[in-house]
């Protein structure tokens, strides 16, 4: 046991010193490796963090949302449905919701307009999301002009701008009273955009949804669990797509690593020849190569992961901003909650360290199986 330990220790020491002896080559390898880890780690952390945010938010979403469909398209739902639905056993609360989209031609942005059902702003007043406020350069007390459905301008006073912390959810939000909402959009009376329900026993949601459809065949109930699953799936898919795209980079990295490992300089070759001639066997040289690879992998993994962590959680993944912004004019600034778990690290490990290790198996073996007498013959 002790012998084995001493042997490992000596070989590890020697491997570190031999890495340092070839600084140039190893630094360039380390740099590329770290970059690859950084990019993949940033992607994974970012997608995971967004997923978690979405899950947290959607956790607050209503148990069931009931929409009305006409000819396969979303239509306004009669408020009269509320009574019958409230009567279904298991439903603890039914509320109509008023919300819609408003296109602001002045800045080319889409807002989500919503009627507040609890704690409404004063009549004629609005609460704005941070994104709206900054795009239109409005603050408390200013006036927001919107065009009503009939073309006449409607004026609203900004009562409050929603805090920056809510930006991810509410950047494009405009909240007003229900009456103002109906006036602005010339919304038909007795209708709402959709209905939201709370169900007392979560296991009953499916049964309740079945009953709603039986009562009103023109409706479509959407369960919270379905929304959560769909979002999860989309995030996973997006994350996966990114990784697939990155796999091109990964492949180039593997080829690069292979090349570096195979391309032993004459100096390196001679050194291994010397080691073999003075009494190191193939297994010892393989161990040397293994530790060299491990030191490089661990360093790249550590540095790359830390940099990615800082990038995503302190700089809000600013490098990805351009790619994510897309058409969005109101791109929210946000600080994601740092979340890392060993699972993500394991995935990252598999995507980066394992391919590197495999790429170096054959070159290491070739280097290690040099004949001990080769150095005498040359």
């Amino acid at each position: 046991m002790n012998r084995g330990f001493e042997r490992h220790r000596s070989i590890i020491d020697f491997s570190i010193s031999s890495l340092i002896r070839r600084k140039g080559k190893n630094l360039s390898l380390l740099a590329v490796y770290t970059l690859v880890v950084f990019v993949i780690a940033s992607t994974i952390f970012f997608v995971q963090a967004l997923k978690r945010e979405a899950a947290l938010l959607l956790g607050e979403s209503p148990d069931i949302v009931v929409q009305r469909l006409v000819a396969g398209r979303h239509d306004l739902i009669p408020i009269g449905y509320v009574e019958k639905i409230a009567a279904i056993r298991g439903v603890s609360d039914v509320k109509p919701r008023l919300w819609g989209y408003y296109y602001d031609a002045a800045v080319g942005a889409n807002y989500t307009v919503m009627a507040a059902d609890s704690d409404p702003p004063p009549a004629g007043g609005v609460r704005l999301g941070n994104g709206v406020a900054s795009t239109r350069r409005l603050s408390d007390g200013d006036v927001l002009t919107m065009r009503g459905a009939d073309g006449t301008p409607a004026l609203f006073t900004v009562e409050k701008v929603l805090p920056e912390a809510s930006e991810l959810v509410a950047a494009d939000l405009v909240m007003m009273t229900a009456e103002d909402f109906r006036t602005l959009f010339a919304f038909p009376d007795g209708r709402a955009t959709d209905l939201v329900l709370s169900v007392s026993n979560p296991r009953e949601t499916t049964t309740v949804a079945a009953k709603i459809v039986r009562l009103f065949p023109d409706t479509r109930p959407i369960l919270k669990s379905e929304i959560l699953r769909t979002y999860d799936s989309v995030f996973d898919w997006r994350g996966g797509m990114l990784v697939v795209i990155l796999s091109v980079a990964l492949l180039s990295f593997i080829i690069f690593a292979w090349d570096k490992a195979t391309g032993l300089s004459a100096e390196e070759r001679k050194e291994i020849g010397i080691l073999k001639s003075i009494g190191w066997e193939t297994a010892d040289v393989l161990m040397l190569k293994f530790w060299e690879g491990t030191v490089i992998s661990l360093s790249a993994f550590l540095v790359g992961t830390i940099l990615a962590y800082l990038h995503v959680f302190f700089f809000s993944a600013s490098l990805f901003e351009q790619a994510l912004k897309g058409w969005a004019v109101l791109y929210p600034r946000f600080r994601l909650i740092p979340v890392i778990d060993p699972y993500q690290l394991a995935v990252l490990f598999f995507l980066t360290v394992v391919p590197y290790a495999v790429a170096t198996i054959i070159p290491s073996w070739r280097a290690a199986t040099v004949d001990p007498d080769a150095v005498m013959r040359s």
Binding site: G239, V358, A368
Partner: protein, 332 residues
């Protein structure tokens, strides 16, 4: 198809393993065919160099199998939210017919790779490569199994379809659609408990006898493997219940979660470790006859048997402590 980064990483890992094993197989066959220990020809020397490549590949494969086993279960757990009715990894694995066979095959391949490495270690101690043929024949048997595993892997993940809203007009919702069952077939707890403790005790006795007298290697090995199987069944049947303190939660994968202090890792690693060393002891039993290994193998076997006993003892003690101190009784 679930395009989750973890799935992709497992896939990449699986494909790389297949590639490496293919290389190992090609070299293995060459070695099997052309091996001639007595000759000093360049061909023989080249073959001897190749044996190093094959053992390096197999070591990597084994470590990969172990890590990917846990990563796979973790991924299955993370994906459970995509399937209605799935509460944890057990549900995800049930989502299509390949889930559990894939898991079992992964464990089998891990054990086989472990036994191969033990045989390889013994082989290097003999001055005439005494186990070379056995090793490479075993390799030829392992490779198709790993390929099969990758096939199962692809079939499983390609066959997974998340229960999501796929069209804006439709919705998943339909009362008749059944979700994925999370139940696991489990044996009745009373008899299983008895079987578990008794087979463990017998294994310990056989192991101690083997270490002292050096006899009964095959018996010990068989008993240790039986312990492994019964321990797995016991985990599902009653052990996990004590960790969850719920008489109905039979899932053996949830103990790997943070909520339970990651205890599952320790339990599974001791169990898998003990299974490998136990099997290795039996695998080496026939190697005693080889002249060059006559003195080496018994020591090696004793060490392996001791390792098995220690690991299984750790497992049994952990489990027993939990059973005594948990707020749950299955009696009555």
């Amino acid at each position: 198809m679930i395009l989750h980064p973890a799935v992709l990483s497992l896939l990449i890992g699986s494909l790389l393993t297949c590639f490496m094993l293919l290389l190992a197989l090609v070299n293995g066959v060459r070695i099997l065919v052309g091996w001639d220990m007595g000759s000093g020809s360049e061909r023989q020397l080249a073959l001897e160099r190749r044996t190093y490549l094959v053992s390096t590949i197999l070591s990597y494969v084994m470590s990969f199998q172990l890590i990917s086993l846990f990563l796979f279960i973790f991924t299955a757990d993370r994906l459970h939210s995509l399937f209605s009715g799935a509460m944890c990894a057990a549900g995800t694995l049930n989502a299509n017919g390949f889930g559990y066979p894939l898991l079992i095959l992964k464990v089998v391949n891990f054990l086989l790779a472990g036994v191969w490495l033990i045989l390889n270690h013994a082989d290097t101690r003999g001055f005439d490569y005494p186990l070379i043929r056995v090793k490479y024949v075993l390799l030829v048997a392992i490779v198709p199994l790993v390929f099969l595993e990758t096939f199962f892997f692809c079939s499983y993940f390609l066959g997974l379809h998340a229960d999501i809203i796929t069209s804006c007009c439709g919705s998943l919702f339909s009362p008749e659609k059944e979700g994925v069952a999370s139940e696991l077939a489990s044996l009745p707890s009373g008899p299983t408990e008895a079987a578990f403790f008794s087979v463990m005790a017998t294994t310990f006795i056989a192991g101690l006898y083997f270490c002292r007298k050096g006899k009964g290697g095959y018996v010990f090995s068989a008993l240790s493997f039986a312990s492994f199987l019964i321990a797995c069944a016991s985990l599902i049947s009653f052990i996990c219940l004590y960790y969850y303190e719920l008489p109905t939660h039979h899932c053996p994968f949830c103990i790997l979660q943070k909520e339970y202090g990651f205890i599952g890792y320790i339990l599974y690693i001791t169990l898998l470790g003990g299974a490998v060393t136990g099997l290795g002891t039996g695998a080496l039993q026939f190697a005693r006859r080889k002249k060059s290994l006559r003195l080496v193998v018994p020591t090696l076997q004793k060490r392996l048997a001791t390792a098995t006993i220690v690991l299984y003892l750790a497992f049994t003690l952990l489990v027993s402590c939990r059973m005594i101190f948990a707020n749950l009784t299955l009696r009555g």
